[in-house]
């Protein structure tokens, strides 16, 4: 199996981001909320990326921020995939009213822009990491539901599913043993895209001041904290912006490759 160079680059960078997130306390040169210098010190030997709006080491903030952003986005993605695919498969297998009910409910939620709905919900609920993950995961599960249902509808009419039904297998067996293995590749390709969406979403919420709360660092929040410096020509706020872009692009590269591989499996053009 030959891996194209773009996918390889994507994998290396994605891996690096995740490793940095996992081992953040070991890599970061300073503490997350430790004030170690002046306001917006330029990059130096001691502070590779300079310091932020209140004198914290920007590199350390970036590393810890990556940890929060990646953790929240991953947790939300896992939640949306588990919920969305199980419900989507169930809707396809059950058909009838269950399918109608779930599908119309999802249509309803998707008729409201996700950011607007999240803002409405967050104006009532306390803004904690758990609530953020739940809100993002639930909102995003609607998209996974649609994909999972669409894929599973094609699979449920296959003979082997019919055979399993006639054998008297339960729903659990049909969903996890018959449909899931055959629906896995499009779902895996979608996984990357949903993860990026979650990263962009949590960053946007934090940037608006309604996501991760200070002093906890996260990329969107770092942009917000340092945005006022831009007008004076201090580019500190652009650093997390580049990190978000780099993560999004590298995950995209991997997802593109997975997607093209799965379409070629189906006999489409690679």
């Amino acid at each position: 199996m030959r891996i194209p160079i773009s996918a390889l680059v994507g994998m290396v960078f994605t891996g690096a981001f995740f490793l940095a997130a996992i081992f953040a306390p070991l890599i970061a040169p300073y503490g997350m909320a430790e004030i170690v210098g002046g306001v917006w010190d330029p990059a130096s030997e001691a502070h590779w990326l300079g310091t932020d709006a209140i004198g914290r080491d920007l590199l350390s903030r970036m590393i810890y921020g990556g940890q929060t952003t990646i953790f929240v986005a991953s947790a939300a993605t896992v939640l949306s995939f588990t919920l969305g695919s199980v419900l989507g498969f169930s809707a396809a297998v059950a058909g009838g009213w269950t399918d109608q009910g779930l599908s119309r409910l999802v249509d309803l939620v998707m008729a409201i822009p996700a950011l607007i709905l999240a803002l409405v919900v967050l104006s009532v609920l306390p803004v904690t990491l758990t609530v953020l993950i739940l809100v993002m995961g639930l909102l995003d599960s609607t998209r996974v539901f649609r994909l999972a249902r669409a894929v599973a509808v094609d699979i449920t009419v296959m003979d082997y599913v019919e055979a399993a039904r006639l054998r008297g297998e339960g729903w659990g067996w049909i969903i996890f043993r018959e449909i899931l293995p055959n629906a896995l590749s499009p779902l895996v390709a979608e996984l990357g895209l949903r993860f990026i969406f979650a990263v962009l979403f949590i960053s946007t919420l934090s940037f608006l001041g309604l996501g991760v709360q200070p002093p906890l660092a996260d990329w969107g929040g770092i942009v917000k904290e340092n945005a006022s410096g831009l007008v004076y020509g201090i580019p500190a706020a652009l650093i997390p912006a580049f990190a978000i872009a780099a993560l999004a692009i590298s995950v995209n590269l991997v997802a593109d490759w997975v997607l093209s591989r799965t379409t070629s499996l189906k006999g489409g053009r690679g």
């Binding site: 607007i116 709905l117 803002l119 652009l238």
Partner: protein
């Protein structure tokens, strides 16, 4: 009745039904969430008596369904309620801001739609060659960036480094149209960049899809120039998907505008919404949220109606 008309009426009726359901989600869904609005306003140390008084004043002691129909009735007659945080009438506060937001979104739409279609045509014409690769590469990277990042990149380079445009989009009543345009130029650029990529890519894909048809080959064999083939034969058949994508992206402007207004401190609906989410001012959040959702659904209905009208197979029933 003409069958196309029936389809259009059906679609609009369905949209109105959806809007009604969405208003229920925004109001009743929020009411069902754990969390006590009165407690949130007064804080943890409030006495039970103060809480009870505030609940009675806000009507929170009534059942949720009664409050929902009161709220909905108010909105239909133009009364959006009163803000909790500063006790002002929401409808008057919104009036000015809605105009500002529409001004911004309208300019973004006017610039991005023709530009996206043009770039899509060019990319389809030079499919696989360098103009296509250049356009696709640039648009792929703008897709990967969140709106606020595009916003700050544009702000840093165009307003601070090269000092071409003002960095803060200040508009106030009584401003001339030229001054106003100059003030909003950066937010408009950002919104255009945000929606351009997706529209352009879908236009390109829709045209390339049509290009595989037999009649395109005929047109090519007739000796028409490639641009003429695309313009006269491929584009008319790709209009329905393109219009759909254009409308969906205009609907997406609704979301983009919220973030971009915060970046450029623009006094519009998005800024208003975000401020009041932070203040936990539920009536304002629900009213503004419903307006955003209504615009979004309205544009989606328009997309469907236009693609019904643009479909010649439906126009000439057997």
């Amino acid at each position: 009745m003409h069958p196309v008309l029936t389809l259009v009426v059906q679609r609009i009726a369905l949209g109105l039904l959806l809007l009604f359901a969405v208003s229920a989600v925004i109001f009743l869904g929020v009411a069902a969430l754990p969390g006590d609005t009165a407690q949130a306003i007064l804080g943890q140390s409030a006495t039970p008596q103060a809480l009870a008084n505030l609940r009675a004043e806000m009507g929170l002691d009534q059942p949720a369904l009664t409050r929902y129909f009161n709220w909905l009735g108010g909105i239909l007659t133009g009364d959006l309620g009163t803000s909790l945080s500063n006790r002002t009438d929401i409808a008057t506060a919104i009036g000015q801001r809605l105009g500002n937001t529409l001004f911004l979104a309208a300019w973004a739409a006017v610039i991005s739609v023709p530009l996206a279609i043009l770039l899509g045509l060019v990319a389809a014409r030079y499919n696989g060659r360098w103009p296509d690769k250049l356009i696709s590469g640039v648009t792929l990277s703008t897709i990967s960036l969140p709106e606020f990042v595009v916003g700050y990149l544009v702000l840093y380079f165009l307003a601070v480094k090269w000092q071409l445009f003002p960095s803060v989009a200040m508009v106030f009543p009584g401003m001339g149209i030229m001054e106003r345009l100059n003030a909003v130029i950066l937010p408009v650029i950002v919104l255009v960049l945000v929606v351009l990529a997706h529209m352009m890519r879908m236009t390109r894909a829709a045209i390339l899809n049509v290009m595989q048809s037999a009649y395109i080959e005929t047109a090519e064999l007739k000796g028409l120039s490639p641009m003429r083939v695309i313009w006269r034969h491929a584009f008319p058949n790709a209009v329905a998907p393109v219009v759909n994508v254009v409308m969906l992206n205009l609907a997406y402007l609704v979301v983009g505008v919220v973030v971009v207004e915060v970046v450029f401190v623009y006094p519009g609906m998005g800024q208003y919404l975000v401020d009041h989410v932070a203040k936990r001012d539920l009536p304002v959040v629900q009213a503004v949220g419903l307006i955003f959702a209504a615009v979004y659904i309205g544009l989606n209905i328009m997309a469907d109606v236009i693609s019904i009208l643009a479909n010649p197979r439906l126009r000439h029933p057997k």
